[in-house]
């Protein structure tokens, strides 16, 4: 494991940590979503600071080069992230679908009820029973002109 690789790992770790903490500060990411990246940075840091750990693991797993093990670890971590993200995106899509359906439904129901009230008021006005609110008259006028 070359020193260049170790330095690169450390730089990547620091970069990841600073970036995500900055995002927390600017209210761009929820703290629970940042935990993964902090751990990710921690793992990179460990691998960079203690090459013995990498050597030991490389031997245990039976990989030829320590660099390959580092790639493997990173690929695993990123795969896990992609996997959970994909699940979250699915759930979000479903939520948006339900949300728009619900909003449309509730709007529809509210409009229907409003219309019934409007018609009732109009009828009552015509028969001289009550005086409807001004805003309703304006609304009915604009509806007719549309």
């Amino acid at each position: 494991m070359s020193n260049t690789l170790r330095v690169l790992l450390l730089i990547a770790a620091v970069f990841a940590a600073v970036w995500i903490l900055q995002k927390i500060r600017k209210l761009k990411v929820k703290m629970e979503d940042a935990i993964f990246w902090v751990i990710f940075a921690g793992v990179l840091c460990l691998l960079g600071v203690f090459p013995e750990l990498t050597y030991w693991l490389t031997e245990r797993v039976g990989i030829l080069s320590p660099a390959n093990l580092i790639f493997l670890v990173m690929i695993f971590l990123l795969l896990e992230k992609v996997f959970t993200l994909s699940i979250i995106v699915s759930q979000l899509e479903e939520k948006v679908t339900v949300l728009s359906a619900e909003v449309a439904l509730r709007n529809h129901s509210a409009e229907r009820r409003l219309k019934a009230v409007e018609e009732k008021t109009q009828k009552d006005e015509e028969t001289g029973k009550i005086e409807g609110p001004e805003i309703l008259k304006e609304q009915i006028k604009t509806d007719k002109n549309r």
Binding site: M31, I35, E102
Partner: protein
């Protein structure tokens, strides 16, 4: 002073009637709003049938999202105080008065209805978690002590209503308490007694609790140092 009780309810069809009826009958001086957090059971129907004041969220957004909508509701209608009361009937509304008195007497920003202000914590897995968080807060706030960090019964003043309604990181959880203490916000506790939930189940299982502890510890020990400190 206008006080609003917000009652977040997720699948509380069995409990909500008891809780809100008690409020309406015995505490008519308080306004309340039930926040149905996209329940999959009959919570919405029960509330609609009984004519409760209901904020009906179309999808499930979780407790902090529900509280956020409640805080925005309070801000929109110009309330001065908000009390959070669980929809499962654990919290007795008779303590709201003592919370309010404590806030008016001391001028603090948050009052927590605490099970462990004067009484000792029992030792079980739940309370060990609670004690870890108490210790974490004590360590990071230079010795400020909050006995019941996970209590869901809290009174907020107007300043806190705005922040909880509009800031992404303000969840109604212990990590926010730690952060606020470090911002110089005054948080106090008042001893209360809570009931066991009568029906339904709590949403935290073992895996959920482990993830919860991890979130809280990361947030208290690490992330709070990188958040902007709002002074005013």
């Amino acid at each position: 002073m206008k006080l609003l009780i917000i009652i977040p309810a997720y699948n509380e069809a069995e409990n909500i009637e008891r809780v809100v009826d008690n409020l309406i009958q015995n505490y008519p001086q308080y306004d309340y709003v039930v926040i149905n957090d996209g329940s999959t059971d009959d919570t919405r129907k029960v509330c609609a049938r009984r004519g409760y004041n209901l904020l009906d969220l179309p999808v499930n957004v979780g407790l902090s999202g529900a509280i956020k909508s409640g805080m925005r509701y309070a801000n929109y209608y110009g309330y001065d105080y908000v009390v959070q009361l669980d929809g499962d009937g654990q919290h007795d509304p008779q303590y709201i008065q003592s919370l309010e008195e404590e806030m008016e007497r001391t001028g603090c920003d948050i009052v927590i209805g605490s099970r462990f202000k004067t009484e000792r914590k029992p030792i079980n897995s739940r309370m060990i978690g609670s004690q870890i968080l108490t210790t974490a807060i004590w360590l990071t706030t230079r010795g400020k002590y909050i006995g019941d960090v996970t209590s869901g019964m809290r009174l907020f003043n107007k300043r806190m209503i705005k922040r909880f309604g509009y800031d992404m990181h303000y969840s109604p959880e212990p990590d926010t308490l730690a952060y606020l203490l470090n911002c110089g916000v005054d948080i106090r506790e008042v001893q209360v007694t809570m009931y066991e939930r009568i029906a339904g189940v709590s949403y935290l299982d073992f895996k959920g609790s482990a993830w919860y502890m991890m979130k809280m510890l990361f947030s208290i020990m690490l992330f709070q140092w990188f958040r902007k400190r709002l002074k005013e």
